[in-house]
C-alpha cells in the first residue's frame, strides 16, 4: 500500500500533472468566489478537455477544482455576507459579523487555515476508509437517511436558542417552501400556481442571497457607512486568524470529522454540512457568542465543508454512488478517461485512487496558501463606503442569482426573499432556521415516505435509527444542560 501511495505521489509530482492541478485550482477558486456558481459549473468547464487525457493529469485537474471551491467561497461569505456556495452559508453568520467589526482579515485567516486542515483531514479519511467503508455505507437505508435529515433539522432548535418560537416558525416556513414543486413521491404539482418555473421548487441561491445579503445592503445604504463598523477600518489580521485556528485545533479536528462523516452519506448534500458543524460547535464550545462575531463560528463550518469532499469521494469512488451533482459529473469525467468508478478503484485502479487522495491534500494546501496571501488585500473591500459598493454588489447578486435557472423567476425570488429577509430582520426573527428547513425538506419527505412504505413503523426499531436518535437527543439536550450549567 505504501509503495502504491508513493507511486501515486510521484505521478502527481510530474510537472504536467502539477500544471493541470494548478489549472483546476485556479478555476475552482474563481468558481468559489463568484456567488451562485457551484462545483458543477467548474466541472462542465473542464469536462470537454478530459476526453482521452492521461488519467493522472485529468484527476489532478478535476480534483484540484473540486477540492478548493469551499476554500475560496469564504471570500464573499465573510466580506459581503453572501454565501459563495451552498456549503458556506453558516460561515456568513459569524464571518460577516467579524467583518462588520473590522476583523474581516482575521476571519479569512482563520477560515482558510481551518479549510486547509479540514481538506487534508478529508483526504486522510478517504485514504483510511477506502477499504472499510463499503459495508457501512450500504447499511444506510432510508430510515437512517431520514434520521440524518432529522439530525440536520434539529439544528433549527440549536440555532433558534433564545428565540425558539420565531426560530421554529422560520424553520417550518423553510420546510414549507421546500414542498413547492413536483412532489417527490407522487407526480403531482404542489403550490406552483401553474408556473413551470416552480416545478423544480424555489431555487436556493437567489433565496439565500435575498434573505441574507439584501437586508445587509439596505442597512449599508441607510447608514451610508462601510461594511466595517470599526473606525480604524481593519483591526484584525490574517495572522491573528491563523493563530485562532491553531488555538482551536480541537474544534477544527472535530468539525472536520463531522464534515467527513456527513460527506460519507450519499445524498445528504453540501448545504447541510456547514449547518450541522456550526450547530454542534455552538452546543459544545465554552462561552460561545455565536452569531455575534465568534471566530469559532467561522472555523467550525469551514473545517467541515472542506473535509466533506474527502468523505463524499468514498461512496463516489468505491461504490460509484455520486453524493452530489458535482461528483456525478466527476464519475462521468473518469469514464471519459476509461476509468470505471466502483470496486475496481481498490484493485487495478488503486494508484489512481491514491492520486485522488494526494490531489485533495495538495490542492487544499495550495489554495489555502494562495487565499491567505490574498486575504489581507481582499479584506479591504469591507472599508469601501456603502453607496460605492452597493451598485457592484447588486450586479454580482443579480448575475449570481440568475445562474440558478437562467430565468427571470430567479430575480423575482431574489427580490421577494430580500423583502422577507428584511422584514424578518426588523421583527427579530432568526433567518438560518428557514434555510435549514428549505435544504432538508425534499430529503426528509422522500426518506420518510420510503421508510413508511417499505417498513411501516418497524423502521423506528432499527439499530441505526436508534443510534442516530440518541445522538440527536445528546446534542440537543446534553449540550443545552451543559450550557445552562455554565451560565
Amino acid at each position: 500500500m505504501v509503495e502504491v501511495a508513493l507511486e501515486a505521489l510521484t505521478a502527481l509530482l510530474q510537472p504536467s500533472s502539477m500544471l493541470y492541478m494548478l489549472l483546476g485550482i485556479s478555476i475552482g477558486i474563481v468558481v468559489g468566489v463568484i456567488p451562485g456558481l457551484s462545483g458543477i459549473v467548474g466541472m462542465t468547464i473542464v469536462l470537454p478537455f478530459i476526453y482521452g487525457m492521461d488519467p493522472v493529469n485529468g484527476i489532478a485537474m478535476m480534483l484540484g477544482l473540486i477540492a478548493v471551491i469551499h476554500t475560496s467561497d469564504t471570500f464573499p461569505s465573510v466580506l459581503i455576507g453572501v454565501p459563495g456556495t451552498a456549503g458556506s452559508q453558516a460561515t456568513v453568520l459569524d464571518g460577516f459579523q467579524l467583518t462588520r467589526q473590522g476583523q474581516g482579515a482575521r476571519a479569512l485567516g482563520a477560515a482558510f487555515t481551518a479549510s486547509m486542515f479540514g481538506g487534508v483531514f478529508g483526504a486522510l479519511v478517504l485514504a483510511l476508509l477506502l477499504s472499510v467503508a463499503r459495508p457501512l455505507i450500504l447499511a444506510l437505508g432510508s430510515p437512517e437517511l431520514f434520521m440524518l435529515t432529522l439530525f440536520g433539522l434539529s439544528m433549527v432548535a440549536v440555532l433558534a436558542k433564545g428565540n425558539l418560537l420565531y426560530g421554529l416558525l422560520a424553520g417550518l416556513a423553510g420546510l414549507m417552501i421546500g414542498t413547492v414543486g413536483i412532489a417527490p413521491m407522487a407526480i403531482e404539482e404542489r403550490y406552483t400556481f401553474g408556473s413551470m418555473y416552480l416545478w423544480d421548487g424555489i431555487p436556493m441561491a437567489p433565496l439565500v442571497f435575498g434573505l441574507f445579503a439584501i437586508p445587509e445592503i439596505i442597512d449599508l445604504l441607510i447608514r451610508r457607512g462601510s461594511i466595517s463598523l470599526d473606525e480604524n477600518g481593519l483591526s484584525g489580521s490574517a495572522t491573528q486568524g491563523i493563530r485562532d485556528a491553531f488555538r482551536n485545533w480541537w474544534l477544527v479536528l472535530r468539525s472536520a470529522g463531522v464534515g467527513a462523516a456527513v460527506g460519507l452519506v450519499p445524498g445528504l448534500g453540501a448545504s447541510v454540512v456547514d449547518w450541522i458543524a456550526y450547530g454542534i460547535a455552538k452546543q459544545t464550545v465554552r462561552n460561545e457568542r455565536f452569531g455575534t462575531g465568534d471566530i469559532r463560528g467561522v472555523i467550525a463550518p469551514e473545517a467541515a465543508n472542506n473535509a466533506k469532499e474527502g468523505g463524499s469521494l468514498v461512496p463516489t469512488l468505491i461504490l460509484g454512488i455520486p453524493g452530489s451533482a458535482t461528483t456525478a459529473v466527476l464519475i462521468g469525467g473518469l469514464a471519459l478517461m476509461g476509468i470505471q468508478a466502483g470496486p475496481t478503484m481498490l484493485s487495478e485502479d488503486l494508484p489512481l485512487t491514491l492520486t485522488v487522495v494526494w490531489t485533495l491534500a495538495f490542492a487544499n494546501i495550495f489554495a489555502a496558501a494562495l487565499c491567505l496571501i490574498l486575504a489581507r488585500y481582499v479584506a479591504r473591500i469591507s472599508t469601501i463606503p456603502g453607496p460605492i459598493i452597493f451598485p457592484f454588489l447588486l450586479v454580482v447578486l443579480a448575475v449570481g442569482g440568475y445562474q440558478s435557472s437562467a430565468s427571470w423567476g430567479d430575480l423575482v425570488v431574489l427580490l421577494g426573499a430580500g423583502a422577507v429577509g428584511w422584514l424578518m430582520r426588523e421583527a427579530g426573527w432568526p433567518r438560518p432556521p428557514m434555510l435549514i428547513g428549505l435544504v432538508l425538506a425534499t430529503a426528509a419527505e422522500r426518506y420518510l415516505s420510503i421508510s413508511i412504505n417499505r417498513y411501516e413503523f418497524e423502521w423506528l426499531t432499527r439499530p441505526g435509527v436508534i443510534i442516530i436518535g440518541l445522538l440527536i437527543a445528546t446534542i440537543i439536550f446534553v449540550g443545552g444542560i451543559r450550557r445552562k450549567g455554565r451560565e
Binding site: Q97, Y166, A186, I222, W408, R425, A427, R431
Partner: protein
C-alpha cells in the same frame, strides 16, 4: 416605537398565519402521497404562527404601555437594535423603501434592456447619484465592470439575462 415597526412585529406572524392556513387548505386537495408532508408542516406552522401573533401583539401593547423594550442581541439574525432604528424619528420601512426601489429599478431595466445596456445604465446612474462620482469616472468604471463580467462570463459560462427589447449581449 414608530407605527411601521409595530406593524412589522405583529404583521409578520399574522401574514405567516394566513400563508400557512392557505397552504393547509390547498394541501387538502392533494393526493394522499403528496399531501401528508405539506399538510403536517402547514398545520403546525399555522398553529405556531397563531401563537406568535398573539405573543407579538402582547409585546407591542406592553411597549405602548411604557414597559422597556425586549433586549435584542446584535447578530446576523436580528436588526442591529430595534430601538436604534427609530433614532431620527422616521420609520424603518420609510427609510428602507428608497433603497428597495433602487434594487427594483435595476431589475426592471434588466428586464427591458437586457444585461449589458441595463447594467451599464444602472451602474452609471447609481455611481453618479448614490456615490457622487463624476460622470466620466462613473462611465469608465461601468464599462470596465461590464466588460470584465462579459469576459469572465464567457470563461465560466455565465448565463446573462436577455431583455424584452435587447438581448443580454447586443453584439
Amino acid at each position: 416605537m414608530a407605527l411601521s415597526s409595530k406593524v412589522i412585529r405583529v404583521g409578520l406572524p399574522a401574514a405567516a398565519l394566513i400563508v400557512f392556513s392557505l397552504a393547509f387548505i390547498d394541501a387538502m386537495g392533494f393526493t394522499a402521497r403528496a399531501q401528508y408532508f405539506p399538510a403536517t408542516i402547514s398545520g403546525a406552522g399555522a398553529l405556531l404562527a397563531a401563537v406568535a401573533t398573539v405573543h407579538s401583539a402582547r409585546q407591542v401593547s406592553q411597549l405602548r404601555a411604557g414597559a422597556p423594550a425586549p433586549a435584542t442581541v446584535v447578530s446576523m439574525d436580528v436588526a442591529p437594535s430595534f430601538e436604534d432604528s427609530e433614532d431620527d424619528g422616521s420609520s424603518p420601512l420609510r427609510r428602507a423603501l428608497p433603497h428597495f426601489l433602487w434594487i427594483l429599478s435595476y431589475f426592471a431595466i434588466l428586464y427591458i434592456f437586457g444585461f449589458v445596456v441595463g447594467t451599464l445604465a444602472f451602474l452609471l446612474l447609481a455611481l453618479r447619484i448614490l456615490a457622487g462620482w463624476r460622470w466620466w469616472v462613473a462611465a469608465v468604471v461601468s464599462v470596465g465592470v461590464v466588460a470584465l463580467l462579459i469576459f469572465f462570463g464567457d470563461f465560466v459560462r455565465l448565463d446573462l439575462p436577455n431583455g424584452l427589447l435587447l438581448p443580454a449581449l447586443p453584439f
